[in-house]
């Protein structure tokens, strides 16, 4: 347990020291949401219907653009090799990175969501439902993207490969994530999309971290 807490503390320490990542992602998120209403339409109904999908897509792009920073340095400075020699369980290394990334995303979304509601004219209940879907959807999303990075860490260029690996798995999360708000606004029960998202959550966490941990361990031996 003390290894898990040491790894977690290490990840959070690096996050707090490297504030550039937080502010870059916040700026990317903020600018995207600020510019889209100008580019799309000033029609309030149209903005309201596009809004949740847009927020989900920007969330995916933000996770994709920030994931490499969690691994590149560890691979470059041979920290992964250090973990290997010390017999550190790579499943713990993987989980601490997911937790740190999730906290980073949640802290950004907490700032962004009120602004998003304002720009896209969403009512409070829609924002609450969207927040709940993001809370349930971002952990498997982050896990899948980290999994892809773990698989491709030993290759030189990971960008396109990561997209190809994770795209088929991201789409169901995106559909049901956006679907929660659509279901609410059309007066349908929310049970169905949330049950599907919970199922994806459980499925991803049952299998993916173990394979990712194995891939990380192998990367340490390159």
């Amino acid at each position: 347990m003390h290894i898990f807490s040491a790894l977690l503390k290490h990840e959070f320490l690096l996050l707090t020291r490297n504030k550039e990542i937080f502010f870059t992602l916040l700026l990317f998120f903020g600018l995207s949401l600020f510019l889209f209403p100008f580019a799309l339409s000033s029609d309030a109904t149209l903005l309201k219907s596009f809004g949740p999908g847009l927020l989900w897509v920007i969330t995916i792009f933000t996770i994709l653009s920030s994931v490499e920073s969690f691994y590149k340095k560890d691979n470059d400075n041979s920290l992964l090799s250090f973990y290997y020699i010390q017999k550190t369980p790579f499943i713990l290394v993987f989980f601490t990175k997911i937790i740190a990334h999730f906290c980073l995303m949640i802290s950004i979304l907490m700032i962004i969501l009120p602004l998003f509601g304002l720009f896209f004219g969403l009512e409070l209940k829609s924002i609450v439902i969207l927040s709940a879907s993001l809370l349930l959807g971002t952990p498997p999303l982050i896990t899948l993207i980290h999994f892809a990075i773990a698989l491709t860490l030993s290759t030189q260029k990971t960008g396109m490969l990561v997209l190809v690996i994770v795209l088929p798995f991201i789409i169901p999360i995106l559909i049901f994530g956006v679907g929660t708000v659509t279901f609410y606004e059309t007066g349908q029960t929310l049970k169905q999309p949330f049950m599907f998202m919970a199922a994806i959550f459980l499925f991803v966490f049952a299998f993916v971290p173990w394979i990712a941990a194995y891939a990380l361990k192998e990367s340490a031996r390159q």
Binding site: I3, L7, L13, L14, N18, N77, S81, Y83, I85, Q222
Partner: protein
């Protein structure tokens, strides 16, 4: 006894190491020499288990070498430049299951003239090496010490501390493998030229 027999390693189609064999008895050290690209780092990584060998055997006391047999000082150091010297050393020690009090860690750092609260990004290459050395020599319960270019960038004082530590380790029945381009003056050290 560390027993290496007919060790071969290929990278793609290129043969990096060919039929390397040697034996190190307890208390012996081996200095691995060779030109750049001759495979010194590869050989050390193979023994540490950081690379998989195609042919040959690497045995310690008759069994395959395991990670917990090896104490590895690699060519690139696992440092995070955003941390302070204290934070980094504290992290390494925790990960390797060593529990030290804050005061003890600070003493280890000051023994290597490292300011505990300075960020690693301000360190020179030699200071980074001394920081890892502070970890390396205070967590040294494993029998096979593997040190890749460990003396490079170290000043005389740190080199002397390291040499004394290696001699003590050998006296206690451990073995040491070192790669270097420099004359290090370690007594009774065998040589292997790649």
């Amino acid at each position: 006894m560390l027993d290496i027999k007919n060790l071969c390693f290929f990278r793609g189609m290129q043969r990096i190491l060919r039929n390397i064999s040697f034996t190190l008895n307890k208390g012996e050290a081996l200095l691995i020499k060779g030109a750049n690209g001759s495979g010194k780092t590869t050989l050390l990584k193979l023994i540490a288990g950081l690379l998989e060998h195609e042919d040959g055997t690497i045995h310690w006391q008759g069994h395959r070498v395991k990670e917990h047999n090896v104490h590895y000082f690699g060519h690139s150091l696992p440092v995070d430049i955003e941390l302070t010297g204290y934070e980094m050393l504290h992290f390494w020690l925790k990960i390797s299951n060593h529990r030290f009090k804050k005061k003890q860690i600070e003493e280890h750092l000051s023994a290597f003239k490292i300011n505990a609260n300075d960020f690693i990004r301000t360190y020179s290459q030699g200071q980074k090496k001394r920081l890892f050395l502070a970890y390396y020599l205070n967590s040294s319960h494993r029998p096979i010490w593997i040190m890749d270019e460990i003396f490079t960038n170290l000043d005389q004082e740190a080199s002397d501390i390291l040499k004394n530590a290696i001699m003590k380790h050998l006296e206690a029945g451990g073995v040491a493998l070192l790669s270097t381009h420099e004359m290090i003056g370690l007594e009774g050290c065998r040589e292997l030229v790649l």
